[in-house]
Point group: C2
Chain length 907, copies 2
């Protein structure tokens, strides 16, 4: 890419916005989201402070050339600065009338808080005087200056608190000075206090960096630009990209914009607003502001801001203007907007707009309602709902009764819907420790910062003491689908003693806490959770018309079902699971794992008898006793599925998985089988495998012990016969699936058994049961030789879990030891067990489909690995032309929506 840029005659790296604007909203790739939208707002006449954007190509060049900049960039930046100076009638570095800049990152996709920002850039020992003069407010000017030095020191010059828990060195200076002056709020610091603070801050930098704080404003600017570019690869940004699948190649743009001040007294202020409620999606003007503050103060959650509606009283003119802008933005961008504004001495400025992050519920509601309002067409509306969002309409809420009895100890702002209970943790570190033990946790923080992201990912819920609904905690929680209550102002946390106090109750780290992110309520102890409204409707326990969310759910599902091409099946082994899945809209079973049936009740004993049999006769005897159980299971499943197709996988796991692992159980088993414990241990030893994943399992079992396959097939067809002959006959469409096939000969061997037993049972019963026999495609060789296998297989079902393990030579159970390092080094673009590895596993899937369909044009194709519930994998399946995806019951709604979106994106 670097070479490419050099070869262009006139590469453009700097795009102005303001009176004269080079870019527009369509140029996200080059300008980043923030830069493109600043340009767009300027173009449509909204009040945007002028500035310019360094394109993402600069970032690419920067990384490809060890931190150097492309030729010509410096000149272009100088020109852009002059243009801003002209428009603002100020001079950058001018001691009399200084122009100040903010420098902010801005990637193609918003990555809130992940990268660095510098405000008030351009202040130095002489311009601070000019600012004081101009604003007639020396205190303000020096306050800006000390904030700038702190920010610059931290972000550009790398002054941080040390790992040993030493407090931030700048905060230390501030606290020291305040205690010397005997004051307890920083707005009580006088003009001269602030001057002293500036001196002390500069000394901190000198000591820590062995360099002085730069007085040259251009040096300041280039330092800030480099810092923003470098922050593209900081740890938080990497983690965020990992989670959201943002390619590292995109890079970030850098926005340099004239400063406006919300902290010039009570006629100034700053705020963040949403054109609709980002938590519920309701069409209300939603937001918050602070008078006499800079933008960071609202987002950082240091002061709890006021609701936007109060601005109508405090600044009626600005409020009216904002309301106009609100609807202008929605009409123009045709989506819910999240925007930042600053009022400088009564004059309104727009600093940013972007499509607002929202909860799943809000995403659904906004899409449905904007479609009704004709702001979005049907296709856009469907695509605007992240498929995962549907889940948030299905997530559990607190059990009503349990909630009534629970000890409510306080409340905060409802910032991420759903109900969560867990052990209290105060740090990401503790969250990780507890999570590793399998415990659920609630992360409790004064406020969260991007450093807490790892802990938030692991937590069931997040509770903060400070910060509003647009604070970092709220924003991230909504996006992660985490339950969140924020700004619980009564909450006091003692990080050192590891306790929290609220409503007169003290709770220690490790004790249970429950929060309701839909209401903001906080409870001591654990509360049982219960079904959501949609769940209750689906289970017939609530009338549909009594639930607004069910209406939304139904509308979206209907829209999706009209569009999607792929069927959605489910992976279910019991009638209960099958019924749940049908309520969610499943159209069949794509994977019934027969082995699960053998763990039930005393069948496991029969199963063990079968496994430990000394010869075929003994094995047959045990299988004969298992047959009625298995038949009854299939009957139940077939009845629950009411005529829908049911794919049954023959026994798959290695036999040793059925045997007891502890000595006591082994002795028990020996007694019940009337053999010696030594014999049991001997047999278990004989069944031990170095790599069970690649051992005697799947069809290898059925080839080694054909009598197992015979029993299972007999159970299937006897169940089908019984149901078709029953008083309430049910049509049965069995699809028998042979696992772990790598050679056509394996499949042929098993299919011969299936057909022989089926023929025998059906002939004897004198009825017909149309059935299919197919195979899993779950080892690379099956994909590679799919043309041969399709001679025998009537369907393929991609078992992408195992196919990923074998294709990558990667055991999911064992990757824990190195996965963190792999993630940090960005070696896997994403977790290949979460989303299909398209470049590797995906290419094998293509090979299999080409080979299979060449040989058998009506070959049915499905997927039953866990990827079948993942939206991006579903999109890939649509691209491949699969006939169905089969996921776990709760993922069925997500899959229906994702399948529809895949069609829409493909068109």
């Amino acid at each position: 890419m670097a070479g490419e840029i050099n070869n262009r005659k006139k590469a453009k790296f700097v795009y102005a916005f303001g009176a004269c604007t080079d870019g527009d909203a369509s140029m996200r790739e080059i300008l980043g989201g923030k830069g493109a939208n600043l340009a767009e707002m300027a173009l449509i006449g909204l009040p945007v402070p002028p500035g310019f954007t360094l394109s993402t190509e600069v970032c690419g060049y920067f990384y490809a050339n060890s931190g150097n900049y492309p030729r010509g960039l410096e000149v272009a930046v100088s020109k852009a600065i002059s243009e801003v100076e002209k428009q603002q009638n100020k001079g950058f570095g001018d001691p009399v009338n200084p122009l100040l800049f903010s420098v902010r990152s801005g990637a193609r996709e918003s990555m809130p808080g992940m990268m660095d920002t510098i405000l008030n850039l351009g202040l130095n020992d002489s311009t601070v005087q000019g600012l004081a003069e101009r604003t007639q407010d020396a205190r303000f000017a020096w306050d800006c200056y000390r904030r700038f030095i702190q920010m610059y020191g931290e972000v550009v010059m790398g002054v941080h608190s040390r790992d040993d828990g030493e407090p931030d060195p700048f905060q230390q200076q501030l606290a020291g000075l305040m205690s010397e002056q005997k004051i307890d709020k920083d707005d009580q610091l006088s003009h001269s206090d602030l001057q002293e603070l500036v001196r002390r801050y500069k000394r901190v930098i000198k000591q820590r960096c062995k360099k002085t704080f730069p007085q040259d404003v251009h040096e300041q600017l280039w330092g800030a630009i480099a810092a923003v570019l470098n922050s593209w690869k900081n740890e938080r940004a990497i983690l965020y990209r990992q989670r959201y699948g943002i390619p590292v190649e995109w890079g970030t743009a850098v926005n340099v914009q004239a400063m406006v001040f919300g902290n010039l007294g009570q006629t100034s202020g700053t705020g963040v607003a949403f054109t609709r409620d980002p938590a519920t999606g309701e069409k209300t003007f939603y937001g918050e502001y602070l008078l006499n503050a800079q933008g960071e103060d609202v987002v950082a959650g240091i002061r709890t801001p006021k609701a936007i509606s109060l601005l109508a009283e405090e600044m009626p003119r600005s409020f009216a203007e904002l309301k106009k802008i609100r609807s202008r933005l929605e009409r123009h961008f045709r989506d819910m907007q999240d925007f930042e504004f600053t009022i400088e001495d009564g004059r309104l400025y727009m600093l940013q707009t972007r499509n607002g992050k929202r909860t799943g519920l809000a995403a659904v509601r906004i899409a449905v309602e904007m479609n009704r309002e004709r702001l979005m067409d049907r296709k856009t509306a469907l695509l605007k709902i992240p498929a995962e969002s549907i889940d948030s309409l299905l997530v559990p809420v607190f059990d009503k009764k349990a909630q009534q009895d629970a000890h409510r100890i306080g409340h905060g702002l409802a910032a991420g819907p759903g109900a969560a209970s867990g052990r209290i943790v105060f740090s990401a570190f503790e969250a990780e420790r507890e999570a590793r033990l399998g415990n659920k946790v609630i992360l409790v923080r004064e406020e969260t910062s991007p450093d807490d992201l790892r802990g938030m990912l692991l937590a069931q819920g997040i509770l903060t003491a400070r910060g509003g609904v647009s604070s970092h905690a709220a924003l991230v929680a909504r996006q992660l689908g985490k339950v969140c209550v924020c700004g619980a102002s009564e909450l006091a946390i003692d990080y050192v003693a590891r306790v929290l106090t609220i409503g007169g109750v003290m709770l220690k780290e490790g004790e249970y806490l429950s929060i309701d992110g839909s209401t903001g309520e906080i409870y001591a102890g654990m509360i049982e959770t219960a079904d959501s409204e949609v769940q209750r409707v689906l289970k017939g326990r609530l009338a549909p018309e009594k639930s607004a969310t069910f209406g939304l759910y139904q509308t979206v599902m209907d829209m999706a079902d009209k569009v999607r091409r792929m069927k959605v099946r489910t992976n279910a082994d019991t009638p209960g699971m099958a019924k749940t899945a049908i309520a969610f809209g499943a159209e069949g079973i794509g994977l019934c794992r027969t082995e699960h049936m053998f763990f039930d009740g005393n069948r496991i004993d029969l199963m063990r008898q079968m496994i430990l049999a000394a010869d075929v006769e003994e094995r047959r005897a045990a299988l004969k006793k298992l047959l009625p159980f298995q038949r009854r299971d299939f009957q139940g499943l077939f009845r629950a599925m009411e005529g829908r197709p049911v794919t049954i996988r023959l026994l798959d796991p290695p036999l040793h998985e059925f045997l007891p692992h502890d000595d006591a159980r082994r002795a028990e088993l020996a007694q019940s089988l009337n053999v010696s414990t030594e014999y049991i241990i001997e047999r278990i030893k004989a069944l031990h495998e170095e790599n069970p994943m690649l051992g005697c399992r799947g069809c290898r079992l059925g080839i080694l012990h054909p009598e197992i396959t015979e029993m299972q097939v007999r159970a299937i067809f006897e169940a089908a016969v019984a149901l078709q002959k029953s008083k309430r006959p049910v049509i049965v469409k069995p699809e028998i699936m042979v696992p772990l096939v790598g050679f056509d000969a394996e499949l042929r061997d098993q299919v011969a058994i299936v057909r022989a037993v089926a023929d025998e049972v059906l002939t004897k019963a004198g009825i017909e049961v149309p059935y299919q026999v197919g195979t899993m495609i779950e080892v690379p060789r099956a994909a590679i030789t799919a043309d041969e296998i399709a001679e025998t297989a009537e369907f393929f079902s991609f078992g992408t879990n195992d196919l990923t393990q074998t294709t990558l030579g990667l055991s999911r159970d064992d990757m824990g030891s190195f996965f963190d390092v792999y993630r940090d080094k960005e070696i896997y673009g994403h977790n290949p067990f979460a989303s299909i590895d398209e470049a590797g596993v995906g290419r094998l899937m293509r090979t299999a489909i080409r080979g299979g369909r060449d040989k058998r044009s009506n070959l049915k194709l499905g997927i039953c690995g866990e990827h079948a519930g993942d939206a991006s994998s579903i999109a890939f399946c649509e691209e491949l032309g699969l006939d169905y995806v089969s996921c776990s019951p709760p993922r069925v709604p997500v899959a229906r929506l994702a399948a529809a979106q895949a069609v829409l994106r493909g068109n």
Copy 2:
């Protein structure tokens, strides 16, 4: 294929030979080897009894259509019978002048003794009278008849001895009658005894089969044809095909030929001869015969026949004729022939000729000498030597001194060269039991039959009491490259007591025995083995001119080296292995497994310290101590390789492989590391993996612990520097290989370390060492994304062991539990770990090569899996265009020859 045949207008299923011949030697595919060569001999005027061949297509049809025959076959057979009747002037089923047939199998490749044969077909209660009349020998006629009934009863009607050890029911009748008559040899049975025996045999059949022995000669013929076709899928045939890679689709032809009789008294006889000595390859007329006998008697080894040279005295005319035919055959077929003849009342008939099976030594000698004699051109000569044969010039012989001291207890015929010691076993069953315990065995049998094949495969050597050098034992042993002594007439075996006696010594099953298959000597006890002549020359311990076999070896290797395109490297980890490999002709190291270096001496302690390190600093400290060892190892290896390229694989196995497994060793380790045993156990537990094959190994180790890669690379380059600066400077060409790469990012991560460390070391030393960095292709994803990986890799080396495991989802360590069943069911065409699975793994290799070379046209390609020493896999590598194969040192000569043959076959 069946459909194909039906669609042809005039399919030809029956090919005559004799006075009028339809086929020729080129038609092996349709006529099988025997049928094609009978036709060819008839064509060139040799005396062949007339007959006809049912083509292999009949076999294909037979299996595809549940044992039915193609339309028109019956008519064609009738016509062919008439033709033979005309030529022989006899009638099939004619009671006065009966024509008798033999019915024999005959596949494309000879499968000696694996399938069924019927002789004397056409005899019944009335034709037996005609035969008696015609031959003027009623005893002979009734002897033929009883033999026919027995053979037909066993082969066609399925009368067998039962599994409970009951003796053969026909043998039982024979024994009974002989005891009634008080005689002890079957040739003492009178005409009427034989008539009685016929009655009793027919009764056996009636009792066992509930059917009478068929009197209709056409029913007899079709029964025999079906039996021969069915024998294509008997257990022995399957095992044989498995071992020799003969596709089941080939099928067998059926040869129906007029009987001639070698058992018509002292002017008749039968024999088997080779145009050259099949054991040594020497150009002598070699063979054996029996007077007054049928062909089966010679091969079965029931009577020990006379050397062919004696025939010159007993039947000078026939001997002269045979000698002429011998050279005629060699000139015509241009290869050593193994032929069968029968002399009926002084008249010579040829019953079969085929290219003779031979020992490895003989194969080499015959090819070299026939090339010198201009009977073979260079290409043919090279292709005539099975690549494996070279091995037999390298196999160990008895240590001369040990042999002198050994207790020689007898001798037999030298039938399979080489020296072998092992425990005595008397059955295939015992052989399997001992082999499973890892013991070497000598299989000792009265004579061997095809049922012993499994035991022969497992034995180091085979010793028989009866049978000559063309007996089954000798034939099979030569082909398997097994040491064999046969026809040791003093040897007495008591199968029940499980002891053998020879030369007055009694040895029990399980005791040691040694045999020399090059001399025929038999020794009690174990004898140390020593290097062969070729080995001694290669090691400089024998002058080349003093060894004839070395001359042969050198000639073949020279011929091969002139032809082959691929380089042959070796897998070696020590200077010793490297030197051996160079003596064998290795041109570089294709795989140095660095982990082997860590097991040596007290390095394992340092390695364990490294693994158990609590943090990076501790690990670095341990690595620092390992560095000098590793550097010294590389120095030794580089020096041994004298400037040849050396591919070094970075650390590959899971770390837990280095840790002790038993409690005592763990306690010891804990003490030496000054930690608690619990800590050691804890760490080992933490390193435990469910599927270590797919766990933290290969490049994952180096990515997780970059300091390991750093140390290894530092050792490599410091060694290179030291050698280049040493008094006797050596050029070093290191090729650093990163294992288990699946993602280009993995390789990039490791290559960055390699280049950084190399740069540092070389810059400091101020010298240049040209080196390459590449990767193993051993997981499917690497093959699939080879285009990406080749951006970073300068070479690929196919690790086909692991690539097979992952592509097939098949753990080599765990396949034992089902592999026997898979082999019996012919699910794997061959063992995929012995020869490359071309349809699966091979296709991935093609993908990798296409992708890799597209991106980097000069990408170097090699293979270092065990397949690199397998001839058929080497042929595949040639087809793929690999640059080199890398095998274990002793396989280098085989690989050189196989690589040349691959070129010749490809042209």
